[in-house]
């Protein structure tokens, strides 16, 4: 947990859950596992607020708990998870992916589950059906069964998973012989076989349209009584089974998309389709951190190709040979049975993508000649000053300047190789080198810092224009109510004129800035994803 990560986590918690949760969360991140009383004491927050914040954090799986042996009767310690909090930055991307894969219904399901953290299937289905019904035209409403089928599809592709369920167990009693059943700490057990099993639920009905306010106070009262009765009699059979979004699966999907995009831009569309087929076939058999996918034979690939790409068998084999021979090593041949066994070399592709990111960062910040030097050092590993000048074909003075600039930014390191035991500088080799892994880590920290700065800047902009924003919100509320009660156009224009033209311009500029900052956050998150995947893949393969 670096300082930048903690700062970014604090800002994300504040935006989504408020200041109290932010205080508790950042304290847990900085100090480590703590008990309830310690948190309340150290953050000087009232105990009930701390309890609520912990409930919220646990609901969203941002924090975990475990019973420990410390203290006379054992105590429960809470631990916040930095990595999981940083995922909150990626929520819009998850929702958008669900939309592209499963349409509006899937999108709304994922959005609701992300907002609530843990949700039962029936509750999710009802909420989504209501929301969809509200957006449809008058008179039609959304069937629950359609939403249920979308939910099932999400679970089948493992995008949603069950939350670990509670198994009651007694807290291990300390050796001082305290009372036996004094406290029971629930332990959460995750049953791997049941993670993606849909419960049988009985849920029939349609989405309810939210009734408009003007005609329905009496109906609402009647409806409320009826609904209370319904709620008592209708239990949909899946109480206690909660679902959450499976981020690992989404990340695997993003990774596959990145690989396919890389192949498409380096080679051509058909090769990317072949790689897409291979990845799709090994979706469920590959663990997220595997270096290679499962080997697939040419026969299998040929059968699984989409019918729109009708290429013949020899052509497919030629494409595969091309992919294997490419210096990027997208695909590697692992055997000859079944006409040739091929596997996608995931680790290598991620490394290449991360390197491309590093190179483009250097290019954008220091110019293309510095980027040339950087790429040279990436390929040739260790080079002396003179060799750098020769290989890069850049005059000595400028090459020196650029190298020292890169060195001062810590993108390039210096390695000393002494010729004599006394390390005399005139008799030592000084070699320049690039360490991709540590450079990637450094850039990742820079990305976190960038996003934190963007958020702070956005909050600052909104705070400066708070008065204006409130005024415009009030005017909109007045306008909406006037329109709803059927006012004349003259009154509407009069109310609209309450905002003067320069104020309108200021509002427009503010909106433009806030959009730009938000959009930048989304795009920096894509870089964060690439770098994080590369680092985790490298660490897993060691």
């Amino acid at each position: 947990m670096t300082a930048q990560e903690v700062r970014l986590c604090g800002l994300l918690l504040q935006e989504h859950f408020g200041e109290v949760v932010e205080k508790v969360g950042t304290h847990l991140l900085r100090i480590g596992p703590l008990s309830l009383r310690a948190i309340a004491h150290e953050t000087s927050t009232p105990l009930d607020l701390v309890k609520k914040s912990l409930c919220v954090l646990l609901q969203h799986s941002l924090c975990s708990f475990e019973g420990t042996q410390k203290g006379p009767r054992g105590v429960v310690e809470y631990r916040a998870s930095c990595e999981r909090i940083l995922r909150m930055l990626r929520y819009p991307r998850y929702i958008y992916t669900a939309k592209t894969l499963y349409g509006d219904t899937g999108e709304l399901i994922v959005e609701e589950v992300l907002q609530r953290g843990h949700m039962t299937m029936s509750h999710a289905v009802q909420t989504v059906a209501d929301r969809l019904t509200h957006n449809m035209e008058e008179g039609s409403s959304m069937e629950y069964s359609e939403v249920v089928s979308a939910f099932s599809r999400l679970v089948e592709t493992h995008l949603l998973q069950r939350c670990p369920s509670v198994t009651e167990g007694p807290l291990p009693v300390a050796s001082s012989g305290g009372p036996a059943a004094s406290a029971t700490v629930p332990t959460l057990s995750e049953c791997q076989t049941e993670r993606f099993n849909l419960p049988p639920i009985t849920l029939k009905g349609r989405g309810k349209r939210r009734l408009s306010n003007e005609d329905n106070e009496a109906e609402q009262a009647r409806g409320k009584r009826a609904r209370l009765d319904d709620a008592n009699t209708k239990t949909s059979g899946d109480e206690g089974i909660y679902w959450q979004v499976n981020f690992e699966r989404f990340h695997q999907y993003f990774r596959d998309q990145a690989i396919i995009g890389a192949v498409a831009s380096k080679l051509d569309q058909t090769s990317s389709e072949i790689v897409r087929t291979m990845l799709r076939m090994s979706e469920v058999t590959t663990t997220p951190t595997a270096a290679y996918t499962q080997p697939l034979s040419v026969n299998e690939i040929f059968r699984a190709l989409p019918p729109s790409y009708s290429i013949s068998r020899p052509v497919l084999e030629q494409y595969l040979t091309l992919l294997v021979d490419d210096p990027m090593e997208f695909v590697s041949k692992t055997g000859d049975s079944g006409g040739g066994m091929y596997a996608v070399y995931v680790h290598k592709v991620l490394t290449s993508l991360a390197r491309a990111t590093l190179e483009s960062v250097v290019q954008e910040r220091f110019g293309s000649r510095s980027a040339r030097i950087f790429r040279l050092l990436l390929r040739k590993r260790h080079l002396e000053q003179k060799q750098v000048e020769d290989f890069a074909m850049i005059p000595a003075k400028e090459a020196k300047e650029m190298l020292y600039m890169l060195l001062s930014e810590n993108l390039v390191q210096l390695q000393e190789i002494p010729k004599t035991p006394d390390h005399a500088p005139s008799r030592t080799f000084y070699l320049y080198t690039v360490n991709p892994l540590s450079t990637a880590r450094m850039l990742l920290q820079h990305c976190y810092k960038t996003v934190a700065n963007l958020i702070v800047r956005r909050l600052n902009e909104t705070k400066e224009n708070k008065r204006l924003l409130e005024k415009s919100q009030r005017i909109e509320a007045i306008l909406a109510s006037l329109q709803a009660s059927g006012a004349e156009a003259a009154q509407l224009t009069e109310v609209e004129e309450m905002i003067t033209a320069p104020e309108r311009q200021q509002l427009e500029a503010l909106r433009h800035h806030v959009n730009k900052l938000d959009s930048s956050e989304n795009q920096v998150d894509e870089t964060i994803f690439l770098l994080e995947s590369h680092i985790s893949s490298t660490m897993a393969s060691r």
Partner: protein, 235 residues
């Protein structure tokens, strides 16, 4: 830049290697450290000033060559950038994700997961506090983890309809009364605009006091009347 004075002794040789050959403005700081390192080295050895352990010409600085002047102040907070950043991606996907992000942020504020700190106490309790509607404090008073799973009372992304309806009602009533008053008086163009603003202020005012504004004469009629009868004594 990362070179701390404390580590100069350890990394003297490396610094000497680096800083002498640089002539660009960026590495002025290393030159500053170099000169201090040289002085420190001289002080430590006590024998002659500015002598280094290696041949300075081998590194690339000729005799009497201009070294850039050392900096006397910290680097500016927002230094001018030589390379402008690449513009952001635009397109349907980027805009849709932007809209999603903003909606998510707005929706999270209305869910029960958003915990507000207890409202700060005002200095003195006012009588009107009883009649004013404060912010919903159910966050701190009755709160049950079960409601987290079924927050049916919270409607995402919608302003509470009855508030707006109520405001609209009072506004309409006030506007009708005010417009009937307006027809009786003569108006110039500027006064009309002022009226608009006054109307707005009155409506704001109306939310917070118990007095009905239409009963209050705001003085213009009074001034108009007195202009006609200047000979009467005013008390």
């Amino acid at each position: 830049m990362g070179f701390k004075p404390a580590t100069i002794c350890i990394q003297t040789e490396r610094l000497n290697l680096l800083s002498h050959t640089v002539t660009s403005a960026v590495c002025r700081q290393t030159v500053l450290f170099l000169s201090s390192a040289v002085r420190m080295a001289g002080r430590g050895r006590g024998r002659g000033r500015g002598q280094l352990t290696f041949n300075i010409e081998a590194v690339g600085i000729g005799k009497g060559e201009n070294l850039p002047p050392s900096t006397l102040q910290p680097t500016p907070l927002f230094p001018p950038m030589e390379h402008k950043p690449v513009p952001l991606q635009t397109g349907e996907e980027a805009e849709y994700m932007l809209a999603l992000k903003q909606e998510l942020r707005g929706a999270m504020k209305n869910l029960p997961f958003y915990i507000r700190p207890a409202a700060p106490k005002k200095d003195v309790e006012r009588y009107s506090d009883k009649y004013q509607s404060t912010e919903p404090t159910d966050n701190t008073i009755e709160w049950d983890p079960v409601t987290l799973h079924r927050p049916s009372s919270f409607v995402t992304g919608f302003p509470p309809p009855h508030h707006v309806y109520f405001l609209g009602q009072t506004l309409e009533k006030k506007e009708e009364e005010l417009s009937s008053d307006e027809e009786e008086r003569e108006k110039k163009q500027e006064e009309e605009e002022q009226e608009g603003e006054e109307e707005y202020d009155e409506e704001e005012f109306e939310e917070e006091t118990d007095y009905i504004m239409s009963y209050f004469d705001n003085g213009e009629e009074f001034g108009g009347d007195s202009d006609d009868n200047m000979d009467e004594a005013t008390y």
